[in-house]
Symmetry: C2
Subunit: 283 residues, 2 copies
Amino acid sequence: METRELRYFLAVAEELHIGRAAQRLGMAQPPLSRAIQRLERRLGVTLLERTGRGVQLTDAGAVLRDEGRAALDAVHAAERRTRRAAPAPVTSRPAVVLVTKAGASSELLAKLLEAYAAEPDSAEVEVLLCGIGEQESMLRDGQADVALLHRPFDSGVGFDTEDLRSEGQMLLLPAGHPLSSCESLRTADVDAIADPPPARWPTAVGHYPEGPGPQVRDLTQLLQLVALGRAWTMLPESVRADLRSDVVGVPVVDAPTVTTMIAWPPQSRSRALAALVRVATAL
Amino acid sequence: METRELRYFLAVAEELHIGRAAQRLGMAQPPLSRAIQRLERRLGVTLLERTGRGVQLTDAGAVLRDEGRAALDAVHAAERRTRRAAPAPVTSRPAVVLVTKAGASSELLAKLLEAYAAEPDSAEVEVLLCGIGEQESMLRDGQADVALLHRPFDSGVGFDTEDLRSEGQMLLLPAGHPLSSCESLRTADVDAIADPPPARWPTAVGHYPEGPGPQVRDLTQLLQLVALGRAWTMLPESVRADLRSDVVGVPVVDAPTVTTMIAWPPQSRSRALAALVRVATAL
DNA sequence: AGGCGTCATACCTCTGCGGTATCGGGAGGG
DNA sequence: CCCTCCCGATACCGCAGAGGTATGACGCCT
């Protein structure tokens, strides 16, 4: 199975429509139809059910969508990391790319970078800030070499991880909300909030959970919506440092603990990465 | 990057000789030379240093060897698991392939299979027995869906795992060896053994550690060598059930505990696999 | 019944992959 | 010091296969 075939199939599996998938791939529809047929013939497996309106995945097709996505990410990762390993033209090149949610763990991140830079043979670290829930896919497809994740929001499944620190959560409300004057709250109080709805953010697979409340994909959006009185949310206590004056945080004493962890792909062997992890765990 | 290019490069990276790699790939040498050059040009990275005698890997080449191996395994896994997900011609088809070291955890394995078969909607489980240290690669490249691993011999890194049980280790000696009459031993006693040397088995990356002592790759070889007085070894206590009469086991009270765990690729979502894991943890 | 939307088929072109023959350069032996 | 061997690179050729256009087949909705 060639990566081209995999790319084609994944486009079809996502669009569930051969014509649109072809458009997305920048090619005509007939060659794509044939490519999928060839793939099915070679695998000896029917991947699609052709209906009058687009196509549906068979069970085998769903397996190939999931496994194939992981495989294609692995190929992209190999490609990106190989390119990055090329000897650079003298000037500093990032030896490690670290990704984390924009706005999360900013104090921890600053300490980590500072401590690592103080190491005798430290390399350049490029910091990539992404939206909520995007770190794991960036790690998988090689856009990054190491990530800061936050359990239970991110799973860390499929990577090597080390826990760095744990913290409680606090409820973020617009200034002036009835609960904003409390010293602390319990989850029962939070569940009882009627008026602004909770904000929703994407899960690891990229979908938004069902429910009322606005969809957000980064901290800025989130804080602005809270400030506008359109949403509430719960976040780790360390965001306190980044709060705007029109947003109030109240500790929720019995909310699940959030653990910040450092994660990297298991086959990674680079010296720079190992040193970064060692510094992180020693913080 | 196409999987063909990756396959070609990996052959060269392993042989460090383009002619031999071409032979192994069943093709002529010139097209392989060109394919590697094309790959280097497309990546914009030098992968090989051409010397008079064969080739050497550059740093970037070594990265591509490691990352590419993982990526190619992932593609093979996608292919195999998709084939296996095909609707079968009526008769029972294995829905799950389980791999474990031949001879290890045989009692646990029997209980697991029995308990799973008793489940209401259990599927066919094919059991694959492999040599020492081969389970993880079979899981990675899709020859198996789930494995029984033994920490600390196997790492389980890169997979989801659940611990099943822990046990101590015992020293295996030929009947008649001076230590064979002891009730129990300590690791210091084991380290002091002069005469037969310890057997060596492959590590996760497929190489044998340095040292004296015969190399083995399965339990039968191992027990036969012990019986012949050519080697000693330490194994989990559950092998006691499989010992031949000419091999004696003596518990080593302070040896590291061995944990049997069940492991599966993180993106697996099959119902049958989930049920198998649930049964295993409930044992 | 007719039109539309969607995937499959027919047929053509051309890229690019693999094969054979040969060149070039470095290492080792006489 | 030169000759020879070994190994990778280059030149050139033929063909499989990937993609494009035009068109067919089929189900669905009006």
